[in-house]
Structures are given as structure tokens and as C-alpha cells.
């Protein structure tokens, strides 16, 4: 077939134009946020709440749930005790064992007339077998997959819900890092039983968790949850102040990213981080270094050899040398995968949730976490951190540099460059 050259040129041009359009659509805009030095945490609080649009709610109670042994019994108990509504959202849900147990518990309550809504990410829930889905839907559970993998939703493919929340009768809420899989059962004792942390909440904050659940529910189903069985007027039940953060890629700077960076900037004494996927960007590294400089003790715990994503670990290594040399202490947890996402600042403020410290969590996925302002809770999480330290190996700047060969360095750099999508 012969065609004039100008037609050919047009063909090439049309591909280029469409390609550019696609690139600009999918491109993540980079935000290099500059965070000012903040005074003490209490003073920065209204700013953090305002910038992240997460109002501080007073009068709550929280209970920390460690590992599967702390989490699943509490979850199953709450499922068994719910009277009117159960709303549950998660990323990972496999089949067998605990997965069947949780599904059966939902199905049982649905048969008893409780409204049960379950939202599972379409990607994270791929390993959930059909018999489990049938079991639940036949019992009357409203089971919905978030962003199903369909051609017409190709543009949404990359956007997953990584949130892990549960709300019972609008009066009790869970926020956690646990997925529904055998890996999260047990007590973090070995590499097949992961370490994770969640919280059970009571008080006005539950309304906020419910609205996080409702957001995706409306998006996928169009059903608007209104009324006292979802959003009751909640009395104060305790002393704790809390704020719920739900990250969603809005095209701007993610609220969670802002919160983490501002939180680091407020620390005056001590900063504890536990995170399975820790890929600090340049800004975070400089915030951490600034913190060390003003006298904050910064301790970061990341997975050691046991990780479900070696590439993420390697991407994280990229800034290790820099951080170690500037006095940030980094610990590798060797007993099993630490999957919890914990932040504790100055023994006062803690954050528990689903957010990893990488750009997938900040900019792409939908996440949920809760900030708790309470010395008791911070103390408990710190004690757990210190307990975990026993199974850690601390990285030392000199030995890290010595063992940090060229090929490892190069590999880390490649992983870091890819890290936007990991």
C-alpha cells in the first residue's frame, strides 16, 4: 500500500499527540512539599488538622490490637455482637482458614438480619475464591469489589483501596493494617505469621471512620448510608482526642503525606516509625535529618530479610547511608515481616493505619489511618516498639557502607527510580 508522506506524517503525529495526552493524564505530578519548622506538637495541632482536613474529635476510647491473636478474636466478637449494621473494607482477602472463618461470621449475621456490607479491593481480593463470595452473597451480605478490573475502568486500574476499616452499628470502629489471610494470624512468631497492629475505637471518632467507609461504598454502589444506624449522635466515652485521615489521590498533595511530613516536623524529643515499606523521598530524609539536628531521637524500624517485597526494601535502601550518617537510627526486624504502620511522636501522638511510607500509599492508593493524642496509647505502642527491638539488628553507618557494594547500590537506585509504582 502506498500512501503519501503527509499522510504518514499525520499518522505519526496522531500517535504522538495521543501518547502525550495519555502521558499527561497518567503522569503523577510531583510535589516537593516544603514543611516549615513547627513548634511543639500541641501548637502545631490545629495546623495539622487544618491542612489535612481532619478535625480533632474529643472524647474517644482506643484499644490496641497486636498481631492476629489480638485482632481476629476482637473482630469476630464485634461481628457476633453487632445489632444492625456491619461495614467492612479491606485490601487483602484470600481463602481458607481465617478467611473462611471471617466470611462465615459475616454470612451468619447477614442471615440473622444484620445489614452486612463488605468491600474488598478487586486486586487484593483476587485470591478470594468463588465459594467464599457465594457463601457471603447467598447469605445476604452485600459484597462489592472496589474498582473491578474492567476494560472501561482501565484508568482506575492503578488506584486501589488499601484501607482496612470496620464499623459496627456506627458505634464501634476498627482501623488496622491486617489483611484477611493466614499470614496475619498468630502472634508474629515466624515468617508465616506476620506482625501487625490495629486499633478498636469508641466515641465520636467512629462517625469519621464510617464516613471513610461510606466514601467508597457510594462510589461503587450509589447507596447513601443515612440514618442513626450508620451515623448515630455519639457521646463522649473517654479522654482521647483523635483525627481520622483518609488519603485519596485528588490530583493535589495527599493529606496523609502532609500529615506524616508535618508530624515529623513537629517532633521535639522522640520519633518512632515502624513501617514495612519505607521509601523516604528527599524531603522526608531532610525532615528526619532536621529532626535529629534539633535533638530528636529518631528510630525507624523496617523489615530485615523477611519481606514480601524485596524491591521495596531495596528502593528504601537508597537513602539509608545518608540517614545513618546523619544520626537516624534504623533497625531491621528479623523475626517476621513487620507489617504495621506506626508512628509515635514525643510519647504523645500516635498514628495507626494502612499507610506505607512510599508514594504508592501517598499518591495512588486510598488509605485510612487514625491519629491518637494520648500518652497512654503512645506509651503502649512505644513499649511494643521496644519489645520488637529485641528481634532487630541495628544498621550501622560504617558497616552498611562497607557492605554496600556497587552492584547493590546500583540495584537500589533502579528500585528507587521505579518506586513510584511499587
Amino acid at each position: 500500500m502506498e500512501i503519501p508522506i503527509w499522510v504518514f506524517a499525520l499518522m505519526i503525529l496522531s500517535i504522538l499527540v495521543l501518547g502525550t495526552m495519555l502521558w499527561t493524564n497518567l503522569r503523577e505530578r510531583r510535589f516537593h512539599v516544603s514543611v516549615p519548622e513547627l513548634d511543639c506538637f500541641e501548637q502545631a495541632l490545629p495546623s495539622i488538622a487544618g491542612m489535612t482536613k481532619a478535625i480533632i474529635l474529643e472524647g474517644n476510647k482506643a484499644e490496641i490490637l497486636q498481631n492476629g491473636d489480638g485482632f481476629f478474636p476482637a473482630l469476630l466478637e464485634s461481628i457476633a455482637n453487632a445489632k444492625e449494621t456491619i461495614n467492612f473494607e479491606t485490601y487483602v482477602w484470600w481463602s481458607g482458614g481465617i478467611c473462611d472463618e471471617v466470611a462465615n461470621a459475616f454470612a451468619k449475621r447477614a442471615r440473622e438480619g444484620v445489614e452486612v456490607r463488605v468491600m474488598v479491593d478487586a486486586m487484593g481480593g483476587m485470591k478470594m475464591k468463588k465459594y467464599l463470595r457465594d457463601l457471603m452473597t447467598e447469605a445476604g451480605v452485600k459484597l462489592v469489589r472496589y474498582h473491578p478490573l474492567r476494560l472501561i475502568d482501565f484508568g482506575q486500574l492503578n488506584k486501589r483501596t488499601h484501607r482496612k476499616v470496620a464499623v459496627f452499628d456506627g458505634r464501634e470502629a476498627f482501623i488496622c493494617g491486617h489483611g484477611i489471610s493466614r499470614l496475619w494470624t498468630g502472634n508474629g512468631q515466624d515468617k508465616d505469621h506476620w506482625r501487625d497492629t490495629g486499633v478498636k475505637l469508641h466515641g465520636p471518632v467512629v462517625n469519621a471512620v464510617q464516613s471513610v467507609f461510606a466514601e467508597h461504598w457510594i462510589e461503587e454502589t450509589g447507596e447513601v448510608l443515612v440514618g442513626e444506624k450508620y451515623f448515630p449522635a455519639l457521646d463522649q466515652v473517654g479522654e482521647l482526642r483523635m483525627h481520622v485521615l483518609a488519603g485519596a489521590p485528588l490530583g493535589g498533595v495527599s493529606d496523609l503525606e502532609l500529615m506524616f511530613k508535618m508530624a515529623i516536623a513537629t517532633a521535639q524529643k522522640e520519633l518512632l516509625i515502624q513501617n514495612p515499606y519505607f521509601i523516604a523521598d528527599g524531603e522526608t530524609v531532610s525532615l528526619l535529618k532536621r529532626a535529629v539536628k534539633r535533638g530528636v531521637e529518631v528510630k525507624i524500624m523496617v523489615p530485615g530479610k523477611i519481606t514480601d517485597s524485596p524491591i521495596v526494601s531495596h528502593a528504601g535502601h537508597h537513602h539509608f547511608s545518608d540517614m545513618l550518617h546523619s544520626g537516624v537510627r534504623i533497625f531491621c526486624f528479623e523475626r517476621t515481616l513487620i507489617h504495621q504502620k506506626i508512628l509515635v511522636i514525643d510519647g504523645v501522638w500516635s498514628h495507626v493505619g494502612s499507610t506505607n511510607l512510599d508514594s504508592r500509599s501517598f499518591d495512588i492508593n486510598e488509605e485510612a489511618g487514625v491519629g491518637i493524642i494520648d500518652e497512654g496509647i503512645a506509651g503502649e505502642l512505644k513499649a511494643a516498639f521496644e519489645d520488637d527491638l529485641k528481634d532487630c539488628e541495628e544498621m550501622k553507618a560504617e558497616s552498611w557502607d562497607r557492605g554496600y557494594h556497587l552492584w547493590h547500590r546500583a540495584f537500589d537506585r533502579v528500585c528507587y527510580m521505579l518506586s513510584d509504582q511499587l
Binding site: M1, E2, I3, P4, I5, F8, S14, I15, L18, G19, T20, M21, L22, T24, N25, R27, F31, H32, V33, S34, P36, L38, D39, Q43, A44, P46, S47, I48, A49, G50, M51, K53, I55, L57, L151, I152, G155, Q156, N207, S211, A214, E215, I218, E219, G222, E223, V224, V226, G227, E228, Y230, F231, A248, P249, L250, G252, V253, L258, K261, M262
Partner: protein, 444 residues
């Protein structure tokens, strides 16, 4: 210019070798690959840009107070108590207090708006802000890149020279082509983190005066004090940090705010995020919660079928539904026509529609049961509900509602009510225009 294939043809006639640079050889396979690439690219782009249709099913409520916690939480706008709210009518009501507060600002002035055209009011505001910046007050201004492109460059330069930080929201550039459709339509101002304005006014001569004639539009804003100001500041900060990466944190932006009155208030700020827009949800839930009376004044009123049904349901349960839209004086006749497409159905279902004739009625007001009012930037169309960034404040207070309602009643005197008989007699041409405009309304 000669078309190349003609040249090639004429060259063909005598077995002369073709000029090789004019014709290109492409195999059938190549053509198929090309078509495939184009189709795939189109599909991907369409799927990323496509607005996922969200059909929200809103239940009827028994009472507004009962629905309030649900509404506030579903729209991400928790209700804050202890505020004061002052209703500001038209330019004459709005600009003097704004200029007063700016004059008294000590530390920071934040201002975000869509329209910044030309005229005396722009000069005055620019000079004032520049003077404050020279006095050492931090002045930050977010202007929509499209809404402000008619503005006077010299003014912007003057302000920037004086130290005013101006951020143009979503500038029109090739690498941001995917963002071009997302504009900030928000209109907010926050002074020293202690006083906030939420309004419908743009910066142009049209918004000065008292809505007295076609050159002076009708609009409404509110001046707020109390804890709600933190939330308005958060709304400003969102687009500011997006464009400048500067995190505004500290006491001078987010002070601890004591109670300043007894108005309960909540701010709904939207940004398109792929899900159901908060403002759309807010409007729909608000309509569903009305029990007695529902008043809407909006310059761009293009309800989708769901909104039409919700309004109809409201009438059915005994709510007096009154909607005021622009008459002949409008800055967008396509929008006006798009709205018309639904008028017949609305009127048939008992919604009272009034066309305001004196000037452009630009205010975006909603009053429910004489207790809950919304004032802000959001129009009643897909662009505001799904595409733009908007900000609206909800005020739960019967005296604020009464003030707005009095103004509405007064506006009614300059309105003609749409009645079915005369409405159906509009010309065939008018009807076609309505249909066509509605068909393209998503992007208006």
C-alpha cells in the same frame, strides 16, 4: 499548495520514477498496527477521562436534624459550633467589609477566586494587597489560570513586586493538559486565620454596586468568625500547597479559635477525585432532607434526572420548592437553555421556577426549612458538581436563614414565574436549543 498524491499521479503517467519523498510504502500489516495503536490509545484516554456515572440513591429523611450527622459525615464536613456569620449582599455589602478586614490584617491575607477581570475594583484590590505586602503582611492569592487570564498583567506584576505571592491555578501548559478541565471555582478569603469569607463574587466591575442593573450583578457572600475559619483556611491551603508546595502551618494561619457566636457551620470543599463529588452528595442530601420549604437561587441550574426526581419527591411530601434562575440577563445563554430542558418536568411536578429579570442573579444559595443555608461558589450543574474545585459553607441558624430568605422574597418581585402554558408555547427553535444545550451540558 499542490496535494502530493496529485504530483505522484502525474509522475506516474509516463513510468517516470516517483519522487521518493512524496510517497511512502506501508504494508497492510502496518496499517492494521497503526489503527490498533490509535484505538488502544483512545480507549485508555477515554477510560481515564471518562466521568464514572454515579447514580446515587438518596433515601428520604424524616427530619433535617436527624439527617444532619449523616450529611456532615458523608460530605467530609464535620459541623463546628460557635461561629458568627454575617450575610453580605451584592458588591456594596461585600467589598467594604472585605477591604476593612484586609486593612486591619496583621499577619496573613489569603485569597482565592476564579474571575479576575479588569476594572476599578481589581485596581483597588491589587493596590490594597500590594500595600499590605509592603507593610510586611504575608499575602497569598490563588487565581484560576483561566478565570484570571483577562486580568491586567501590570496589576499582577505590581502585586508580585510588592511581595504578594500569586499562584495561578492549573496553568494552561502541555504537560498539564490532563488538568485543563479542572478549574478552581472556589471563592474564599481568610484574614489572619481569624476571619473568613465564602462568596460567589468575582473580581470584576460586574460584581460591584447593588445588583441594580445589567452591569451590576446580584450576588451573596458570608463573613465568618469562629472555629469554622480553620476549615476555610484548610480549603485555601489545599490548592495553595498543590500549586506552590508551601505548607502554611503555624498559629498565624491556624490559630486556636474561640467561639464567636452560636451558628453551627460546616465547609464543603470539593475536588474531582473519581468518586462521587461531595458537593453533589451535599446538594442531593440537602434536598432529600427538606420537610417544609426548599429555596434555591442559582445562576446555572441544570439539574440531572436524579436532582429532578429529588425535587419532585420533595414537592410530593409537601415541601414548598422554589427555584430562582436567571431570566434574559445571563452570562451564559447555553447554560440557561440547558436548564430549560428540565423545566417542563419540574413545573409539572410542582416545583416553582422563577426567572429573575433585573440583572444576572449570580448567587448560589440554598435554604432548607428556614434553618440550614448554603452559601458558596457551586452552581447546580455537572461542571460544579463533578469537575471544578468548589467551596460552600453550610450555616445552621434560623436567623441567617431568615436573612437570606428575606432577600429571596425581595428578589421575587423582579421575577416572572415559569408557567406550563406559556412555557410550552416557546418556539420550536427555543426547544431545539434547549435539547442541544442539555446534551452537551456536562462540559458547560
Amino acid at each position: 499548495m499542490n496535494l502530493p498524491w496529485k504530483k505522484a499521479d502525474s509522475g506516474n503517467a509516463k513510468n517516470k520514477p516517483r519522487k521518493p519523498h512524496l510517497v511512502f510504502e506501508i504494508s497492510l500489516g502496518g496499517a492494521i498496527v497503526y489503527v490498533l495503536i490509535i484505538v488502544v490509545l483512545f480507549l485508555i484516554i477515554w477510560s481515564t477521562q471518562r466521568e464514572r456515572e454515579s447514580h446515587v440513591r438518596v433515601p428520604d429523611f424524616r427530619s433535617f436534624e436527624q439527617a444532619l450527622p449523616s450529611i456532615a459525615n458523608l460530605t467530609g464536613a464535620p459541623i463546628l459550633a460557635g461561629n458568627s456569620a454575617e450575610v453580605l449582599q451584592n458588591g456594596d455589602g461585600f467589598f467594604p467589609p472585605l477591604f476593612d478586614d484586609i486593612a486591619q490584617a496583621k499577619e496573613s491575607i489569603h485569597f482565592e477566586t476564579y474571575v479576575w477581570w479588569k476594572g476599578e475594583i481589581c485596581d483597588r484590590l491589587a493596590h490594597t494587597l500590594a500595600a499590605k505586602a509592603r507593610d510586611g503582611v504575608e499575602v497569598r492569592m490563588t487565581l484560576d489560570a483561566t478565570g484570571s487570564n483577562k486580568g491586567d498583567d501590570e496589576l499582577f506584576e505590581e502585586m508580585e513586586k510588592a511581595g504578594v505571592k500569586i499562584s495561578y491555578y492549573h496553568p494552561i501548559r502541555i504537560q498539564d493538559i490532563g488538568l485543563i478541565n479542572n478549574r478552581t471555582h472556589r471563592k474564599v478569603a481568610v484574614i489572619d486565620g481569624k476571619v473568613a469569607y465564602v462568596f460567589g463574587h468575582g473580581m470584576a466591575q460586574e460584581w460591584t454596586g447593588n445588583g441594580q442593573d445589567e452591569e451590576h450583578w446580584r450576588d451573596t457572600g458570608v463573613r465568618l468568625e469562629g472555629p469554622i475559619v480553620n476549615a476555610v483556611q484548610g480549603t485555601f491551603a489545599e490548592n495553595w500547597v498543590e500549586m506552590t508546595a508551601e505548607v502554611v502551618a503555624g498559629d498565624k494561619y491556624f490559630p486556636r479559635l474561640a467561639a464567636a457566636g452560636d451558628v453551627r457551620a460546616h465547609v464543603t470543599a470539593t475536588s474531582p477525585n473519581g468518586g462521587v463529588a461531595r458537593l453533589e452528595l451535599l446538594y442531593k442530601l440537602a434536598i432529600a432532607s427538606a420537610q417544609k420549604e426548599l429555596i434555591i437561587a442559582n445562576p446555572y441550574f441544570i439539574p440531572d434526572q436524579e436532582l429532578v426526581d429529588l425535587l419532585g419527591r420533595a414537592v410530593k411530601r409537601g415541601v414548598d420548592v422554589k427555584v430562582m434562575v436567571p431570566g434574559k440577563v445571563t452570562d451564559s445563554s447555553v447554560v440557561r437553555h440547558a436548564g430549560h430542558a428540565q423545566f417542563e418536568q419540574l413545573v409539572r411536578r410542582g416545583v416553582k421556577i422563577f426567572e429573575y429579570q433585573k440583572t444576572l442573579n449570580h448567587q448560589k444559595i440554598m435554604i432548607i426549612d428556614g434553618i440550614w443555608s448554603q452559601v458558596g461558589s457551586a452552581n447546580f450543574d455537572d461542571r460544579s458538581l463533578d469537575i471544578n474545585d468548589e467551596a460552600s459553607v453550610g450555616l445552621i441558624d434560623s436567623s441567617v436563614a431568615a436573612q437570606l430568605e428575606n432577600a429571596f422574597e425581595k428578589d421575587l418581585r423582579d421575577c416572572t414565574q415559569v408557567d406550563l402554558e406559556t412555557w410550552n408555547q416557546r418556539s420550536l427553535w427555543h426547544k431545539l436549543e434547549d435539547k442541544f444545550s442539555y446534551a452537551i451540558n456536562e462540559q458547560l
